[in-house]
Symmetry: C2
Subunit: 376 residues, 2 copies
Amino acid sequence: MGYYLAVSRRSVTSTTSLSGKVKMNAIRYRDKKLFYIDQRFLPLKEIWRECHHINSGYTAIKQLQVRGAPLIGVFAAYCICISIDSFSREKNQFFSDLFEAIDYLENARPTAVNLVWALKRIKQAALLKKDMPVAHIKKSICAEAKAIHKEDVLLCRRIAEHGVTLVEKGDRILTHCNTGFLATSGDGTALAIIYEAHKRQKEITVFADETRPLLQGSRLTAWELLKKRIPSFLITDSMAAPLMRNKKIDKVFVGADRIAANGDVANKIGTYGLAVLAYHHHIPFYVAAPSSTFDLSIKNGNNIPIEHRDMDEVRKVLGKVSIAPPDIPACNPAFDITPYRLITAIVSDRGILYPPFKKNIRELITDNQNPMVNQV
Amino acid sequence: MGYYLAVSRRSVTSTTSLSGKVKMNAIRYRDKKLFYIDQRFLPLKEIWRECHHINSGYTAIKQLQVRGAPLIGVFAAYCICISIDSFSREKNQFFSDLFEAIDYLENARPTAVNLVWALKRIKQAALLKKDMPVAHIKKSICAEAKAIHKEDVLLCRRIAEHGVTLVEKGDRILTHCNTGFLATSGDGTALAIIYEAHKRQKEITVFADETRPLLQGSRLTAWELLKKRIPSFLITDSMAAPLMRNKKIDKVFVGADRIAANGDVANKIGTYGLAVLAYHHHIPFYVAAPSSTFDLSIKNGNNIPIEHRDMDEVRKVLGKVSIAPPDIPACNPAFDITPYRLITAIVSDRGILYPPFKKNIRELITDNQNPMVNQV
């Protein structure tokens, strides 16, 4: 790992804000320069940083400066691009440097499947050209990173285009957690549909759940919605129910972490409660996710393991402000399971799935799955 | 108001912690000394203060050091008791001082109905003895304050005794907001039932909703449950749904702010969602409230006005920590309405009410209502 240290440590520097542009992204890559929003400071500060090398890329992923599984994959691939000019020009040593860099980056978040998957694609692209000159291999690596990026953007685009057909003029849409351009390298999943509806002047209003305990709704989704200038209201998670009862919500759109073969959906804690409430109030409940989110090896939601996280996420806010006695036990399941019976339709990049989900999922989803676009 | 300023300003001083005792209270009155827990510092610090005079009592109510409608009423009555020795010994001037003090205290929280009601009782007790010597009037005032206190404790006691019959051995009970000894001068309403069940060794477990936005659940209820040594878990409001789905909740007990003639219940935001979820999962949903909470002049829940509070309560935590963009609009209804159809039974001090609520409420609740025990 020695050579990383030899390279410039000016890894983290601010650049000017890129706000105000119509097209929003959490990362930018141009002319071998990689920029990203440091998401730790959102929503209060929009700080753009430049990633100068593997080291700063590793730190950015590790410290959750860059988050969202699809986004991390794209970001890691670009981290290799901006670093290869510092690798050896001698081919054997070049490959040694490349593999070392890939191993290093993979460890930034060992459980992030998209990170491993994207770096594996970079490795394969390099190996495919192993008989060519180093300069040629480098070009191939950068082309592959751009391809990964382009594919992710395209998946989001397709979800948005299918999903927007479900939105009617004047719809008031409830959403949960963050499923937008801060979680993917495109416009997102559920939020991408909302952005497309707004772009097509459907005069929508959005209600964003704050999404305790980690507040992805108030910190990230509220910030995205403001950036996109979409009429929006932030609510606590418990306010969705009376809004539905008072006929203020027409549709619910959420993302998904994993979808079982029968259509059961694992998603951010709070999703299941919203689904029950929507069902009770006869409000359509839509899940938006790329085809890679479907896991046909899992029969139903009962077989999806649920991650239980640190109790302090419930006892504190923003990881530091205590809101409860420090010794009260807390539950902290990060996800919950929404049974397929409560879901009106699932919007994927390949089209909209309606019940019977088991049959329709089997037909639409082949095993040529792309793990880039799992939600986080 | 001048004479208030002439009196000692050593209004707020800490006393030793009274924790560890079996009987818990948020206020203590003994030998013309009034102590209270400064609830602003809960759950991280249990600071007991002595209230030395009207001034410090006014400040304590105004700054929410003492909160909970029934508790405020009792506290204000005792504030008069500890102050009367500084009033004039000449009878006319004594009454003038007394009325001035009452008017002053009433303005600490002008909308708190219990505050006005308790002070009115103090005034009437004094006027009833207006032909007697001042010393006699003073005794009468203090006796009335103690009576108000005793009545509040008794109402809580009766609710607990009726409600505990609904609790079975091993029950896992979900509760919302704070309805315990920090909100009343007794053991509370919904929490009083839980305390009684624990005392009777029913081996219960409690799940406490944190109750965003003001976090009465994590700040106050979690603290009370720890004090009472009841096996408990703190959860975010959105975790109730999967707990119910996974058969971890046997019963729900909540308080009430106001109950309409048909049994519709206004209570802390989040209550309605819990009621829908309980209904969906076939879990009994109980409301605990004193008979004074019933407002027979209100036909149904649609006629109960809902207070909408400052947006910053949603955009911030604990009134200071920003968790959202400062310019995102937020909804902040403080209460919601639970229709009677979702309620299994209402536990009052006069007994347990079952459907048909309209008929049974009319029969059980006379117009001789005591506003002391409304929830806040």
